[in-house]
């Protein structure tokens, strides 16, 4: 089961503004991205996150699966999440 967590060197504001304190890089999340990211902050499993997104947004599970994979891939590429 995939667990996603936030690295220690990432500062996350209430508005979804991300600041990597070790490199000075900054990022902005849109509303849905911010919602998903907040679920990651609670150290849930990927399955937990999917359930919450389906509850909150009108999305079919197949599309969510694909979009969430892409999103996590981007976050990992920028060192914004850790997976285990």
């Amino acid at each position: 089961m995939l667990n996603i967590s936030i690295p220690k060197n990432l500062a996350v504001s209430d508005s979804g503004f991300l600041f990597l304190t070790s490199t000075g890089e900054t990022f902005t999340l849109n509303e849905i991205g911010h919602f998903i990211f907040k679920q990651f902050q609670q150290n849930g499993t990927l399955e937990d996150v999917k359930k919450k997104v389906v509850q909150e947004y009108d999305v079919d599970p197949a599309s969510l699966e694909k979009d969430l994979d892409d999103f996590i891939g981007q976050l990992k590429a920028y060192n914004l999440v850790e997976t285990k």
Binding site: N9, A11, F19, T21, S22, T23, G24, E25
Partner: protein, 344 residues
């Protein structure tokens, strides 16, 4: 105490004088006058209101150290300077040579030694880093255009062609390397430094050494916006123990005595840091240091006074500087005064 500061050339290639003075003015403990020393009547720092108490024009060190010393002596008779902070690379050798004579007329300095200045020279840094296990881009020193043909034996293009004092060009082939060689050797002389090109982001550290190997403070910054001259026009303090650790090592090994700026590049392929340069003075972005909790220019003043300074152990992460081009309006009388009388 009265403190004189040089480097008021806050242009698009800014000198550190204005931010050093702003830092000193943040320290409420400093009483006395701030005296600005400028080489050119149009140095912008001369025109900033409430920055200096008095300004004087001084001759370039290249016109002779005797001239420079005589002018400073005259200024000292009027202003009673307690401490002089030179802030420009090009004047440092001169002021290091003059520091004993300055002390005799009551002016303190807090400068590196000639040996320390030489260790970090662009032509010597590679050897220093190798000796001390600090990652540094490979380089070769060349004194003739023919030697550029050696480049492919050492490393592949692109390479960085650097002048001995200032300026650098990226060359993608021998033709571009020759063009850069000719420009740089004509302007700055020899040797020319040919350096391995490392692609990545630039990181900088401003630091202060006490002359005994202790780092009094160090603040790390990433440039957020870089001008076409390679100058950071905005930057943010970052939490990166790696480059702070290398900076401490440099200060310990050299027993650095003064402010300094260390320039790093983080290889985008390997994420390893390479030390590109050590500048032997505070950088033009030094005002970010007091903003982040380390007033390094004020700490230098205390060190110059022989006071004990407790080293800083942290700074605020996420502090940003954004430089601003701001037109100052003045009157012809001001320019006349500084040009004709050499003071204002």
């Amino acid at each position: 105490m009265n403190i004189a500061v040089t480097g008021l050339n806050a242009t698009d290639n800014p000198g550190p004088g204005v931010p050093v003075i702003r830092s000193l003015k943040e320290a409420k403990e400093i009483n006395g006058k701030i005296i600005g020393l400028a080489y050119d009547p149009l140095e912008p720092g001369l025109y900033v209101e409430n920055l200096t108490d008095k300004c004087y024009q001084i001759p370039y060190p290249s016109s002779g150290l005797e001239n420079l010393f005589n002018r400073i002596s005259k200024i000292n008779e009027i202003e009673k300077i307690d401490l002089l902070i030179p802030t420009l690379d090009s004047e440092l050798y001169g002021f290091v040579k003059l520091q004993d004579k300055l002390r005799e007329i009551g002016i303190k300095t807090f400068l590196p030694t000639l040996e320390q200045l030489n260790i970090r020279g662009k032509d010597k840094l590679f050897d220093f880093c190798k000796e001390n296990d600090i990652k540094v881009p490979k380089n070769i020193l060349v004194t003739s255009a023919q030697e550029l043909s050696k480049i492919p034996n050492q490393f592949s293009y692109p390479v960085v062609i650097k002048g001995i004092f200032y300026e650098a060009y990226i060359a993608n082939n021998l033709d571009e390397a020759l063009s850069a060689f000719n420009k740089l050797s004509y302007k700055w002389g020899f040797p020319i430094i040919v350096q391995e090109y490392i692609k990545g982001d630039e990181f900088n550290v401003v630091a202060l050494g006490d002359g005994r190997g202790t780092t009094v403070g160090a603040v790390a910054m990433r440039k957020l916006y870089i001008t076409d001259k390679g100058k950071g026009w905005s930057g943010i303090t970052i939490d990166d123990p790696n480059i702070i650790s290398v900076s401490r090592k440099v200060i310990k090994k050299t027993k650095w005595r003064s402010g300094m700026e260390l320039e790093f590049i983080k290889d985008s392929k390997t994420n390893e840091y390479y030390l590109l340069e050590i500048n032997p003075r505070f950088p033009a972005w030094v005002y970010l240091a007091p903003a982040a909790g380390q007033n390094l220019p004020y700490a230098l003043v205390k060190l110059a006074n022989g006071e004990h300074v407790q080293p800083f152990d942290s700074f605020e992460i996420g502090k940003i500087f954004v430089r601003c081009a701001w037109d100052l309006i003045t009157d012809i009388k001001f320019l006349e005064k500084i040009t004709v009388k050499g003071e204002n």
